[in-house]
Symmetry: C2
Subunit: 389 residues, 2 copies
């Protein structure tokens, strides 16, 4: 997701001040066959869990996100990354629902990842951290949800990688999920999505400061990470939104400079985005999380996607959302999910929203998105007889 | 353009063995106000110039192209980059036309560029080479065309940056051009096009081996150039063609490796493309040529594009071609050109070809493209009373 969006969305009612939380578990088994021992999950919650523990909604974050989805940390003037959607009266209405968001394993924002200390070596894991999958991320979230005493989530949702985790939840734990709202997501990474990630990884790994992942005592591979982020950032926007936002406007000059300093506003914007990102994100985590994305294939690589959904309970409900100008996770990928669900007779609504903002559209203030999610959750709660505040 | 295409297109009649040529000029003035003294233009020609010197067609190359557009150099088994379109009976029919292609200034394939020796220092220019524009490239080509004794080109054509040069010809030398065939081109680089180029430049400039452009005595910034090429390469393809070509096929393995070696065929393909490119291309040239692309704005940044075409002769003809799946130079950019031409009453045909191959489509064998170009040139020759072989 784009940093610039977060600061623009601090409007309307908010859950207010929130505190980071975390919980440790002795062990997590991974798809690779390895185990993480121990494992920490950083998370936040917003709203109140009702007495029946039946009004919980899990939000999963995207590549560069974290557990801080809404509200403000003490002293911060910047809200969580989905402040537009989570709060009193918002799409994920914290007056009615208990909203949970956790940092993925492999991340760098509190959950166990490559920057954590390996008990075996006493130093940061670095590349010694096992490769994790979206399945592993969700398995870790299940530990957290069990820990919170929640038997069934009323809904799981997220955009981009968050949507992929939400889909994974329905397949991995069909009895623990009542509904799912995957947004701007896919059931499997396409070769173009893999290709952009691979170039980003190579930019990091080509930076001599990366040092095979062992850089925590010294300078970090900021140049490589910035290039990776800039590639990603372009893919989150759209041709149309970039033309509207930047056009060919020059940066602080009357004419082009006939040199290799920056001439255009879009150049300085992108460089700034790359630079800011290196201050808040870890290069190894970028490698691990993009790899998890590329590995994601809900069908397990065998047979049609329809098979993957065969064991879903008949009363599970989906709201699948895509954005018209999202060329990184194009609407056809969401439609593919919808067709596979319908093929299993699953209750599924599909919404393709007109937007010029590309993949990032899911992070922007959007009244239609808010209304659709609010009503979908309301109906789901009614269907399951959930008592709301 | 993509290297893989060139080796796949060695079919059908060919101009056969061709020899590189070059010519020196004492001086070339540049848009920046600087001068190049002296300047060498590397070029090739195919077919015969008729007695009236009226059957010449100039082909301009794309970012990574060169003067070797057709036929074979002695001992080579790989033809020129537009072998599909240039040759006996082909779109640019060498039985009828005299076809010229030259390496752009700033290039690294024989024309004066950053790898050339600066007379002032006695060493390679490196970053001491002046920044050049598409206008400068065309000004250099005009010297060559004058040198060949050709007063008026029957046509100028090219794909991508080649199409941009073709358009520039019509505006800079309207009396020296009878017709123009810009393919998969634009009248100005969009912010998205600039953004992808800027990230590529930053990847090169972040490579410590780049050394501020001064690397000709030592190791070249191959890692940075490979990353830049890989970014470019993805943008030349399409989501659809990548799915058809690679899908999620693994590379020499039964299952994913749970490590950071390459898992997917698309990854090894891209890395190979990046690596191969570093063997044939210069990193500084990549900087200069992408900068020229980003500077390109036929309207000069003032007023509507229609103004730029106001002084075209009434008998100039255009065939503007775009490809449906080209998301880097999308059809709307070609339509923009067409509208501005029609607004001036210029004879202009527009062809949007259905293709799944993205921007690279212009390099692929395409019977419709061949037929359209052949007939357009035939009609243009008739209109101008040109005697053909």
């Amino acid at each position: 997701m784009s940093d610039y969006l977060i600061s623009e969305q601090a409007r309307g009612p908010s859950v207010g001040e929130v505190a980071p939380q975390s919980v440790d578990f002795p062990s997590l088994s991974l798809d690779s066959g390895e185990r993480l021992e121990p494992v920490t999950i950083a998370y936040e919650t917003y709203g109140e869990l009702n007495e029946e523990r039946s009004n919980a909604v899990l939000i999963a974050h995207a590549l560069s996100g974290d557990a801080h989805a809404a509200g403000y940390h003490q002293g911060d003037d910047r809200p969580g990354w989905w402040e537009t959607m989570i709060g009193p009266g918002k799409g994920f209405d914290t007056d009615r629902f208990f909203v949970i968001c956790s940092n993925v394993i492999g991340g760098c924002k509190g959950s166990t990842g490559p920057i954590s200390i390996s008990p075996a070596t006493g130093t940061e894991y670095g590349l010694g951290f096992p490769v994790v999958t979206v399945g592993d991320m969700v398995r870790a979230q299940k530990l957290l949800v069990d820990h919170l005493g929640i038997e069934r989530l009323l809904s799981v949702s997220g955009g981009s990688m968050g949507g992929m985790q939400a889909l994974q939840w329905t397949v991995a734990y069909p009895e623990a999920v009542a509904s799912c709202i995957p947004i701007a997501a896919t059931a499997k990474h396409s070769p173009m999505q893999i290709a952009f990630n691979e170039v980003g990884r190579l930019a990091i790994m080509s930076d001599p400061k990366w040092n095979n992942g062992d850089y925590y005592g010294g300078p970090a591979p900021d140049s490589g990470l910035a290039v990776a982020r800039m590639i990603g950032h372009i893919t989150y926007l759209s041709d149309e939104s970039m033309r509207a936002k930047f056009g060919r406007r020059l940066r602080d000059k009357e004419t082009v400079g006939y040199d290799f300093t920056m001439d255009f506003e879009v150049e300085s914007y992108l460089r700034h985005q790359g630079e800011v990102f290196t201050r808040r994100f870890d290069a190894n985590t970028y490698l691990y999380v993009t790899k998890a994305l590329d590995y994601f294939d809900l069908s397990g690589g065998h047979g049609p996607l329809e098979e993957a959904f065969r064991d879903l309970p008949a009363d599970m409900r989906f709201l699948v959302i895509a954005f018209s100008s999202d060329w990184l996770y194009p609407p056809y990928q969401s439609k593919h999910i919808v067709r596979a669900l319908k093929g299993n007779g699953i209750d599924c609504s599909y919404l393709e929203m007109r937007s010029s903002y590309g993949h990032d559209a899911f992070l922007l203030e959007n009244k239609d998105l808010t209304r659709m999610v609010w009503h979908f959750l309301e109906t789901t709660a009614k269907q399951w007889g959930v008592r709301l505040g």
